[in-house]
């Protein structure tokens, strides 16, 4: 597999990884074909000044990924791209942006970049939903697509997802 220097760089030193304590929302997605799983945590704040004053923005972001090199590199890039952006701006990030930051991915690995965008969108969706805010139509659509796949993955990894959830609830981390 030929990965670009950029990909290998992110893989070597990924930005913003690890579990986040008390996130405002979590996005959880997976790809059933390759079996990779991505969790994205966000903390949302309000812009204090400037043109975007009062708008929700991504104050902090972290990822946890069970996946290939491209998945980890894409996760790292998506956190870099989204951090500091308003939710509205973040929803404009596309898989092409991720691919560009990574200087491309091998054809078979392009879906890994989409997975990272899906994770981000899922986190934003969950935030908007929990705070009873208006959810844009295409975000709703995206959500129902990723949700279906997530359910399949959850079934596949049942034992492990459950284990994780119990540990999480016990507040061990």
């Amino acid at each position: 597999m030929e990965y670009s220097e950029k990909v290998l760089g992110h893989f070597k030193r990924p930005s913003n990884y690890g579990r986040m304590k008390n996130p405002d929302a979590v996005g959880k997605v997976g790809n059933i074909v390759c079996g990779d799983v991505m969790w994205l945590y966000i903390k949302v704040g309000k812009s204090a000044s400037g043109r975007k004053k009062g708008e929700d923005f991504i104050k902090d972001i972290k990822f946890e990924t069970f996946g290939c090199v491209a998945a980890i590199a894409s996760s790292s890039v998506i956190t870099d791209l989204a951090k500091g952006k308003t939710l509205r701006e973040a929803l404009k990030i596309s898989k092409e942006d991720v691919l560009k930051s990574l200087k491309g991915l091998p054809p078979i690995k392009v879906h890994c970049s989409l997975l990272s965008v899906d994770a981000l969108f899922d986190a934003i969706y969950n935030y908007l939903k929990a705070n009873k805010k208006l959810i844009p139509q295409n975000l709703e659509k995206n959500h129902s697509r990723t949700q279906k796949e997530k359910d399949l993955i959850k079934e596949k990894y049942k034992k492990w997802v459950k284990l994780e959830e119990t540990i999480y609830k016990k507040g061990k981390i």
């Binding site: 079996g35 990822f63 990924t65 290939c68 078979i108 034992k159 492990w160």
Partner: protein, 388 residues
């Protein structure tokens, strides 16, 4: 990236032993003759070819040197077995039994034959990959023409009891083929004692050159060629003979046979040391394959919470070459067919890596591996939602 490469992927391929290169060298220029030519330049090559055939036959325990033919690869040998036996024995029946943990070249040949109207049955394997002999016995019937079971699996290293399977097939009157690409030169094989009708050996897995392999075909076995042409190799494999390659292959076999006992003992010691270290020091590590009945040089672990490819690349970054499942399937997304076939938890099939040792492996390399491996696993687990 560190300059030094710590190679732990001998199951994918091996470097050529310097003694082999030396033996091959004259056959590229001085002794370049075509063994099929009548003149003395050709005859010289023919004599050598015969000598090499004899070395292979003796190493396999074959009764007659003419029971060995040379091919270009284990893939070719295995294709020839499946397709050649199927075509030559259509009158007897159309059923072929293979294990679900065969190498892709057997698996795909069987799949292709299925498309041509043959019936493929799968022998049952247990969680270690061992073939269930009773189940196999039940699956053999009057229409069965071939049983093909891999001797030692390339991913998990599990070694089958060939003698039992051979006896059963002989008793039932069906041909028995085994793919010994991974095992030959590491574990003792005797085609007579084990009642084997067809057997595949590959050169580049045993410190010989790539592009050459052989197939043992017991006298009297009905088989059709798949390469037609000049009629080389007893009309079973037309193509100009790769003399230099065959000379190298035979030399590699000679060395393996002579040094097998000592080398295997050393490798087994290293293998067990690594396995025990990992079990003791790395949590959430699962050994895949049989704990005892496994290749001297094979180690296969699943590490909870980490994807195999990421671990491979993290190790590669630090100068260590290993592989996820097998080298041939690493450009695919789906988890290993072998690990699924032995019923491994889907989560763990994503997390498997194979470490394979070889002639040049030494203590220093192993110590480096065992220093870097736990560090890499720790790093990747920090990024993973699972295993905290």
């Amino acid at each position: 990236m560190p300059k030094k490469n710590y190679y732990f992927d001998y199951a994918a391929t091996t470097p050529i032993d310097p003694r082999v290169i030396k033996a091959m060298f004259p056959y590229f220029s001085d002794k370049f003759g075509n063994p099929s030519s009548i003149h003395s330049v050709g005859t010289e090559s023919l004599v050598v070819l015969k000598k090499c055939r004899k070395i292979l036959a003796e190493a396999l325990g074959a009764a007659d040197e003419n029971e060995v033919i040379f091919t270009s690869s284990a893939t070719e040998s295995n294709n020839l077995v499946l397709k050649g036996i199927a075509l030559a024995n259509k009158k007897k029946g159309n059923e072929i039994i293979i294990s679900p943990i065969e190498h892709a070249c057997v698996f795909k040949s069987a799949e292709w034959l299925e498309g041509q109207g043959f019936k493929i049955k799968f022998a049952k394997v247990d969680k270690y990959g061992l073939v269930d002999i009773e189940d196999l016995e039940q699956k053999i019937n009057s229409k069965t023409i071939l049983v093909s079971i891999i001797h030692a699996n390339n991913e998990i290293g599990t070694i089958q009891d060939l003698e039992k399977i051979g006896k059963l097939c002989r008793k039932k009157g069906v041909y028995f083929h085994t793919d010994a690409a991974q095992s030959f030169g590491k574990v003792a094989i005797d085609v007579n004692k084990m009642k084997i009708d067809l057997l595949t050996v590959s050169s580049h897995k045993m410190y010989g050159p790539k592009g050459v392999a052989c197939l043992y075909i017991k006298k009297g076995v009905k088989i059709e060629p798949i390469l037609h042409g000049g009629g080389q190799e007893f009309d079973l494999r037309s193509s100009t003979i790769n003399v230099a390659g065959i000379v190298g292959f035979a030399k590699a076999v000679e060395i393996c046979v002579k040094e097998m006992k000592k080398e295997s003992a050393k490798t087994i010691k290293f293998r067990n040391y690594i396995i025990n270290f990992v079990k003791k020091n790395i949590k959430g590590a699962h050994l895949n394959g049989h704990p005892q009945k496994r290749l001297p040089n094979n180690i296969n672990f699943s590490f909870e919470g980490i994807e195999g490819e990421s671990l491979l690349m993290e190790l590669d970054r630090r100068g260590i070459a290993i592989s996820t499942s097998s080298a041939c399937s690493s450009a695919k997304l789906e988890p290993s067919r072998i690990l699924l076939a032995i019923g491994l938890d889907p989560f763990l099939t994503q997390s498997a890596i194979r470490i394979s040792l070889g002639r040049m492996t030494n203590k220093k390399e192993i110590n480096y591996l065992l220093k870097v491996l736990p560090e890499s696993i720790r790093k990747l687990r920090k990024m993973s939602p699972f295993f905290k």
